[in-house]
Symmetry: C2
Subunit: 486 residues, 2 copies
C-alpha cells in the first residue's frame, strides 16, 4: 500500500498546476496572468461535479438563468458597502471599437447588482415569492497577488452563484440553513472534509448581514474557502427597491440570501484525494471510470484472444453505463499506459492478459492504493461498482483522518501560532468579545477564519465546561478558528 | 383553423422582443443596450436546442472546452485581416481596479486568436491530428446599429463555436462538408428552412479562405444568417505557427476549419413557427411539452373527480418522460390559462372536465392550429407522441411553404429589386464574373447574400439550360442570391 506523503507537499503550489495540466483538466499556459483553459477531460469532470450541484439546486426549487457579463457602472454603484469593497478589484471596460464609452462597464466580480436590478422588475407581489435562481458563469477579479489555476484567478472560469428573495426575515434565515444543507451534501458527495464557520464581521461578504463559510485544508497546511452563504437581509433590496405587495396590500422590501462556489471545488477534489502520481477521482464523478489495458505476450504482441476478451469487457461495461476506455494501442508498453491513466486519476484499471483469458478472470487495480483484486468474469459489473464504492469510502476516510489530525484545540495564542506555523488549523476557546478578536487578528501569525459552528444546528460550537478564553481568561463561550489560508 | 398572418408582420421587430419576454424566454430590459437575460423557461429551451447540437458534435468527434473571455491585445493582433475587420467592433478592457493596464484586453468577438495560440502549444505531431473542439460561450461586439435580443447584441449571450485542425487541405475541405451536414441536421431537427450560399469574397469571415452560410427568412421578409462554416486554410496556422511533424519527419502548418451558430437559432425557431399568440415549439424541444388544465363545473369549482383524473394523467405523462405541467390553480379561468400557455408555446394542451371523466376520454388541443382531438384514456401516451410528431411535420411544411413561396427566380436586376422590396429572396442567374457582382452590390436594393449552393454537394447550383446572366447577358453559370438581410 502506497503512502501519500502529504506532509512533504510544501511544494503544493508547484505540483498542483502541473498536475492539472498533465491530467488534461486545465491549462494555465494561457498568455495572461490568472486565466486558463478547461481541457476536454477537465470539462467532462466539471460537468459531472457541478451537474450534481445543479441537481441539488433543482430539488431545492432553484432555476437556472443567465445574466450578461457586463455591469453598467451606475448599477454597480448602487450598494455602498459592496462597491467600496469591490471597486479596487474589478476590470473596467472603457472603450468600444475606437471610441471611449460614455457609460463604462464593470466585468462582473459577482452578480448581486445586475441581478437585483432585474429582481426589482420581476418581483411585484407576494405571489412572486419565494424566488430562487442560479447561474453558472465566469466572473472577474483584478488579483494583484500570485494567481493559481482554479483557486485564485483573474478570470474565475466557473462560478456557481445562487440568489433568492423572501417575504420575511425568518424565511431568509431558513434559506441560509437550506443552502448550507445543499453544500454539505455536495462536499460529502465529493468526499471533501470541511469546517463551517461564521466569518468575522470584517471579513463577511460586502453588503451581507453575515457570512457562513466552508473551508477545507490543502496538503501544505493552508485552508481553502470552498463555499459561502450570505444572508443579505434587506441591504440590497432597499437600494434596488425590490418591493412586493403583501396579501394585506402593504409594500415590503424583500429579504435576500445568496451563496456561491467556484472552481475551488475542483482544486479541493484534486488536492484532497490526489497523490504524487496525480489526481484520484471518486468513481461516481470520474470522467473516465475504468480503463482496460490488454497485456501483451512475452514476445510483445497482444494476442487475438486477449483483444477479443478486452473488447467484450469494454462493451459490457459501456452497456452498464460505465464510462470506459479500451487502451489497445500496440506501440506503447503497459507500464507507460499505467502511468498515463494514473496521471488522469482514473479510479479503476482492468488488466487482461493470457492468464485472465485462460482462467476466466479479470484483474482490477484500484488507483488510490494500487490494490489488485481478481474477480471472475461473471461477477464483473457487480464487483466494479462494489470496488468503486469501497474505494470512495476509503478515500473519504483518509481525507477525513488527515483533516481531523490537523485540527488542534489549543489553550493559548502562542500555541495557536505554533500550530498554524506547522500547517494546522488551531481552535481557540474564546469569551466572545468581538473587540478581542479584532486585536487578536493583529497579533497572530495566521488569520481568524471565523467562529466555529456546529454542522447540524449552525450555532456556535460550545467549548467544554471550564475552558477559559485564551485571550482574556474569562469563561469561554465559543471557539475561534485560526489558520493560514488562501 | 387559424391562419398565420405572416405578411402583416411588418412589425416583427416590435412583436419579437415582447414575445420573448412574455413567453419567459429572454428579457431585454437589462439596463444596457444589446444585452439581455436568459429567463428560466428560456434557459431550459436553450439547453434542449443546443443540447442536440452538442450531441451532433460529440458524434462527429468534437470535445467541449472553455477558453477565457479576455484576449490579450498582442494575441488578438496576430492575424492581420482578422484584426483589421474586428478592431472597429470590439470592447476593450483598459483598467484593472484603479490602475491603467499595461497590457490591454479585448472581450472576445470570436475565439480564433486565443484558441490558435493554444493550438500551437497542443499540436506537435501528426498523431495529434485531426483535432476538434467546441465551446459554448458569450462573445461581444460593439454594435452601433439598432440591437435586437438574441440576433444582434452587444453581448451575444450564446455562441456555439467549433474549431478544428488537419494535416492536409483535403481533410479540411472534407470537414467543411461534415460541418455543413451537422448544421443541416440541426436546422432540420428544428424545422427551420434555409438556403446555403457561398458568401461573396468581400463578405467572408475575416481570415477565411471562404465562408459557407445558412440563411433563413424572417416573417417581415428579411433574411437572417443562422450559421456559418469557414475554411481558414493556413491563414491562422502560419501567424500562430501551428506546426506538426509529419510521419516523414517534416514540419507542416496545419489546415483549419471553424464554424459557429449563435442565439439566432432561437430567433429563427420563434419567428419561423410563431404566430400572433406567441411562439410555437416543436414537441421534441419544447421546455414544457404538455399542459393539463382541469375544467371547472358550471358553478365554478373544479370537481374532485376531475382533479383526480388530472393528477393521474399528470403522473402518467411524467412517468413516460414527457415534460408536463398541471395547472390546477383555482383562482384563474380556463380561458386565461389557455392564453398563458399559448403565449409560452406549449405544443399540446389537455383539457379534463366532467365530460372527459364520464366518457373515459381526454381532449387534446394542438397549439399550432387549435385543432381539438379526443382520445380514449388507454391510448393517451401513444396518441400524445403521435400528435406531437404530426404537429411538427405540419409546422415544418408550413414553414417550408412560406420559405419557398418567398424565393423567386428573376431574370433582371429591376425585377430582383422589386422582389426584394416586397420582402422576397431573389435568385438571379449570373455568368460568374466576380467584378460584375461587386458593382451589382451598389445598384441593388438588397444585399448579395452569396452564390446559391446545392445542399447535397455544396457546388454552385446550375442555372437551367439557356438562361442568361441578368447583368451582362452572357450564358449564366451560377445563381446569385439577393435579399434584404439582418
Amino acid at each position: 500500500m502506497k503512502q501519500i506523503p502529504r506532509k512533504e507537499w510544501k511544494k503544493f503550489v508547484e505540483w498542483y498546476p502541473k498536475i492539472l495540466r498533465k491530467a488534461g483538466i486545465y491549462d494555465d499556459r494561457y498568455p495572461a496572468k490568472g486565466m486558463g483553459v478547461w481541457l476536454p477531460y477537465g470539462f467532462k469532470l466539471r460537468e459531472k461535479v457541478y451537474g450534481y450541484l445543479k441537481k441539488l439546486h433543482t430539488e431545492a426549487g432553484y432555476e437556472q438563468v443567465q445574466f450578461p457579463t457586463l455591469i453598467p457602472e451606475d448599477i454597480f454603484r448602487k450598494e455602498a458597502e459592496h462597491v467600496a469593497s469591490f471597486e479596487k478589484e474589478v476590470f473596467w471596460v472603457t472603450r468600444g471599437g475606437l471610441t471611449e464609452l460614455d457609460k463604462k462597464f464593470v466585468l462582473r466580480p459577482t452578480s448581486e447588482t445586475p441581478m437585483y436590478y432585474m429582481f426589482s422588475l420581476w418581483l411585484n407581489s407576494y405571489k412572486d415569492l419565494p424566488f430562487r435562481i442560479f447561474q453558472i458563469v465566469n466572473v472577474f477579479r483584478y488579483e494583484t497577488k500570485a494567481t493559481h489555476p482554479l483557486f485564485r484567478e483573474r478570470e474565475i472560469s466557473i462560478f456557481f452563484e445562487s440568489h433568492s428573495a423572501f417575504l420575511t426575515q425568518e424565511e431568509a434565515e431558513e434559506e441560509v440553513r437550506r443552502a448550507v444543507e445543499i453544500y454539505k451534501k455536495f462536499f460529502d458527495y465529493l468526499g471533501i472534509p470541511y469546517i463551517i464557520t461564521r466569518r468575522p464581521d470584517w471579513d463577511k461578504f460586502p453588503g451581507a448581514d453575515y457570512t457562513i463559510a466552508f473551508d477545507t485544508l490543502m496538503p501544505n497546511g493552508r485552508t481553502l474557502q470552498i463555499g459561502t452563504v450570505h444572508n443579505l437581509g434587506q441591504n440590497f433590496s432597499k437600494p434596488f427597491d425590490i418591493k412586493v405587495i403583501t396579501e394585506k396590500g402593504e409594500n415590503k422590501h424583500v429579504w435576500q440570501v445568496c451563496f456561491g462556489v467556484s472552481g475551488r471545488v475542483i482544486t479541493a477534489l484534486v488536492a484532497v484525494h490526489g497523490d504524487d502520481h496525480g489526481p484520484v477521482f471518486p468513481f461516481h464523478v470520474a470522467p473516465i471510470q475504468v480503463v482496460i489495458i490488454p497485456i501483451p505476450m512475452k514476445d510483445g504482441g497482444i494476442s487475438e484472444k486477449v483483444l477479443e476478451k478486452s473488447r467484450k469487457v469494454f462493451e459490457l461495461l459501456k452497456k452498464a453505463g460505465i464510462s470506459v476506455v479500451l487502451d489497445d494501442k500496440e506501440d506503447e508498453t503497459p507500464g507507460s499506459k499505467y502511468y498515463k491513466w494514473e496521471l488522469r486519476g482514473v479510479p479503476l484499471r482492468i488488466e487482461i492478459g493470457p492468464r485472465e483469458v485462460k482462467e476466466g478472470k479479470i484483474t482490477i487495480t484500484r488507483r488510490d492504493n494500487l490494490e489488485r483484486i481478481t474477480v471472475s468474469d461473471s461477477e464483473l459489473i457487480e464487483k466494479i461498482k462494489e470496488i468503486g464504492e469501497k474505494m470512495f469510502e476509503d478515500m473519504k476516510q483518509r481525507a477525513m483522518k488527515f483533516f481531523k489530525e490537523n485540527i488542534v484545540e489549543v489553550s493559548s495564542i502562542d500555541k495557536a501560532n505554533k500550530m498554524v506555523e506547522e500547517g494546522k488549523i488551531a481552535i481557540l476557546p474564546w469569551c466572545g468579545d468581538e473587540k478581542e478578536s479584532e486585536t487578536l487578528e493583529e497579533i497572530i501569525s495566521g488569520r481568524i477564519i471565523g467562529i466555529l459552528l456546529n454542522k447540524n444546528n449552525l450555532k456556535p460550537e460550545k467549548p467544554r465546561e471550564g475552558l477559559k478564553c485564551a485571550i482574556c481568561g474569562k469563561n469561554a463561550k465559543k471557539y475561534l478558528v485560526i489558520a493560514k489560508s488562501y
